[in-house]
């Protein structure tokens, strides 16, 4: 029997500090408690206790690019970032478009044992956008795939997308779309706008995202299916989501920390560490995304954690791969953009980083309330502490963070997965 006592924590940052007793993976008591024999004690000192974070959008690169991230290193990064569950995207090499690969990813996650790694299955065979992958087989495999996505690529063919949505309803799963009309983004390098005009980058227009999101919302409504929109980046997409939700469409959406904070002003550095897909947009887009997240029009935060090797980033912009690390900085960016600005309180943070992503990803044991009888997937956060970002010190093999050298607020001081401490004081617990 493992016993952990979290002493003096404030669940959701509310009320007086309480002690939270965790036995065998379950919260068994909350109040002013004595320290039981052989309990491991975490002195929380009034820090904020939240349900463990859930990331709907992580790239773990295994199988295929273990030089940039493995399921083990990515799991460590996730635990250090306060996560207890992550969804690993299907665009690995080979692609996770069959039961063998998704089960492999699932088992490797279990072996690492730091977070629950839920493989995302590809919607189409080989991410080619031509033929549906065996969604049912993957949904019923050992990995129990709950989310399907061709992320990195858009399911652009409207008929195929319709079929994917229709078919998904029988399985109770969600189709997560990387919304990018490929004909509108040929050669695209950066947000189409003033910065791209000045710097001579081929533009990635907002309408390439918005036209797909609008189309997919209509298709999802028609199919009565569940659609999840990945990494919303434009103000117009937020408007479309609001419109669709008001109509009763079963659509959910995520926004990345970087789209909440960073803008295309960063292009002027020419440093591909800022290159990401969809691209960084304008300040007015970021402002709208923050408001939409606060209002619930955008449901949750997802990292789009995308590790890359040095040679794939320290090159000229057009040759660089898009993507940036996100797992170990997400909480801090949310604190910076949403908490410090008064847009979200800690209950709101729990909603966007844990509860909603768990619901969208069909997880029943994560994103649960901090109450007696609930699974002890928990994250302890010091809201007042600050830290300096050093990519080289991350648990990820890669170091491509756009926040290098920045001082950020909010430190994850402990993470518990089913009552077991996975990370503590910035280190992976043995």
């Amino acid at each position: 029997m493992t016993t952990v006592l979290i002493k003096g924590a404030r669940p959701y940052g509310e009320g007086d500090p309480v002690d939270v007793l965790v036995e065998d993976g379950v919260i068994t008591d909350i109040g002013s408690l004595d320290v039981p024999d052989d309990a491991e004690v975490i002195e929380a000192g009034g820090q904020v206790l939240l349900p463990g974070f859930v990331d709907l959008h992580t790239h773990l690169r295994e199988p295929g690019r273990e030089d940039t991230e493995t399921i083990a290193t990515g799991s460590a990064a996730a635990a250090l970032g306060g996560y207890t569950a992550v969804f690993a995207m299907a665009n690995t090499d080979p692609v996770a478009d069959n039961a063998v690969i998704v089960d492999h990813v699932w088992r490797r996650g279990q072996e690492a044992g730091l977070v629950d790694v839920h493989p995302v299955g590809a919607v189409t065979v080989g991410l080619k956008g031509e033929k549906l992958a065996e969604l049912g087989t993957m949904a019923k495999s050992e990995a129990r795939v709950k989310v399907f996505s061709d992320d990195g690529l858009c399911v652009a063919d409207p008929l195929l997308m319709r079929r994917a949505l229709e078919y998904s309803t029988a399985l109770g799963v969600v189709i997560a779309q990387h919304a990018e009309e490929p004909r509108l983004t040929v050669g695209a390098q950066a947000h189409e706008g003033e910065q791209a005009a000045r710097l001579g980058y081929t533009g990635w227009p907002a309408s390439a995202e918005e036209s797909i999101v609008a189309r997919d919302c209509l298709l999802a409504e028609h199919a009565n299916a569940r659609l999840h929109v990945c990494h919303v980046s434009t103000s117009g997409t937020a408007d479309i989501l609001k419109w669709a939700k008001d109509r009763g469409t079963k659509v959910s959406a995520e926004v990345t920390p970087h789209h909440l904070l960073l803008t295309d002003e960063r292009l002027a550095t020419y440093d591909p560490v800022n290159k990401v897909n969809p691209p960084l947009r304008t300040e007015s887009d970021a402002e709208k995304l923050r408001a939409a997240l606060a209002e619930g029009v955008i449901d949750c935060v997802a990292t789009d954690h995308a590790p890359h090797a040095v040679q794939d980033k320290d090159c000229e912009w057009s040759s660089a791969r898009p993507g940036m690390l996100g797992l170990q900085t997400a909480l801090s960016i949310v604190v910076e953009t949403m908490v410090r600005t008064g847009l979200l309180d800690w209950r709101g943070v729990a909603r966007v980083m844990s509860e909603r992503p768990a619901e969208i990803g069909n997880l029943t044991d994560h994103g649960r309330p901090i109450e007696v009888g609930e699974p002890a997937n928990l994250t302890l956060v010091d809201p007042d502490a600050e830290w300096t970002v050093r990519g080289a010190e991350f648990a990820s093999i890669a170091a491509n963070t756009p926040y290098e050298g920045m001082r950020l607020p909010g430190v994850v001081t402990a993470t518990l997965l089913r009552g077991r401490i996975t990370a503590r004081e910035g280190k992976i617990a043995q």
Partner: protein, 310 residues
């Protein structure tokens, strides 16, 4: 001043100094039998071209040689580039081999800027000879030299840039340089060949060439690449030529003193009528000639003045 990467943000005083030096050089070398100055003796200049451009490379090569620099041409076909070596590794190799200056032409926007970062420690100067659809600053400087020769000054002058602004590094560099020097810039193009966000640049925009011509002191025709014609940017070469080609009828709409420029190579007949290209208003051959003097001046300001200070 260590590099010449862009005209966006370029100090107008530096630009003017380059133009003045280019003019001096032109007069100094005029009629000389041996056009060689000792200024950059012992300096190594490398042209690193990832795209073919005989005209630009040769212009830089002659400029370097007339200043007595050792000029080495590296092109993508002969270098390790084809073997997959990264730009960064190539750059570090060149710096290690002792390059004082690297002149780079590259298909990626921002490549020259990245290169300057990698070469910062080596202290190697970088000249952008065209990066993607971003900038081509020496072309803008030679255009400015040609215009100054013909028009005297930039203050209050109105200059039209006509054609494929979207893909044109020449247009971007000219927009920033000419407006910094005091001229007004009018872009004339179909909406499909203008970048989104163009209104943030110091320009006015028009789709009617005829309406603009009478008020222009100079008209700069841009090259329309063949692939654009098939890329659906406009319906046909014929329609483009009718709307945006500089023909003899249009030429008559220009003021008497107006200058016609083209960065070359020209698509005669489509972008510009032969009679216009070969008319006295055309400064197209002077552009090429001034190109050498301007590039000499750039190398002088980046390399010689620094050497003098050291």
């Amino acid at each position: 001043m260590k590099h010449l990467l862009a005209t966006d943000g370029l100090d107008p005083a530096f630009a003017t100094a380059v133009l003045d030096t280019a003019e001096e050089l032109k007069h100094t070398l005029l009629g000389r039998e041996v056009r060689k100055l000792p200024t950059l003796r012992g300096r190594t200049v490398i042209t690193l071209f990832y795209e073919n451009s005989t005209r630009t490379r040769v212009s830089f090569e002659i400029a370097g040689k007339w200043m007595s620099a050792d000029v080495i041409n590296v092109s993508a076909s002969s270098s390790s580039v084809n073997k997959g070596e990264s730009l960064r590794d190539t750059a570090l190799t060149l710096a290690a081999a002792g390059a004082d200056c690297v002149i780079i032409r590259h298909p990626a926007s921002g490549a020259a800027q990245r290169l300057s970062g990698w070469l910062a420690e080596a202290g190697t100067a970088v000249v952008n000879a065209g990066d993607g659809t971003h900038e081509h600053p020496t072309q803008a400087l030679l255009d400015a030299a040609t215009l100054r020769e013909r028009l005297g000054s930039f203050e209050g002058r109105r200059i039209g840039i006509v054609g494929d602004v979207l893909h044109s590094r020449v247009a971007r560099s000219n927009i920033h340089l000419l407006s910094a020097l005091g001229a007004e810039v009018v872009l004339v193009a179909p909406p499909t060949l203008l970048p989104a966000g163009v209104e943030s640049l110091p320009v006015t925009v028009s789709h009617e060439l005829d309406a603009e011509l009478p008020a222009l002191d100079a008209v700069m025709m841009l090259r329309v690449q063949a692939e654009r014609m098939h890329g659906g940017f406009f319906p046909s070469a014929r329609e483009y030529s009718i709307a945006y080609g500089l023909n003899e009828r249009r030429m008559k709409l220009l003021p008497e003193h107006a200058v016609v420029l083209h960065p070359g190579p020209m698509l005669r007949g489509m972008e510009i009528a032969s009679a216009v290209a070969d008319s006295p208003a055309s400064a197209i051959t002077e552009q090429v000639r001034n190109g050498v003097h301007v590039r000499m001046a750039v190398l002088y300001h980046l390399l010689a003045s620094e050497g003098a200070a050291a």
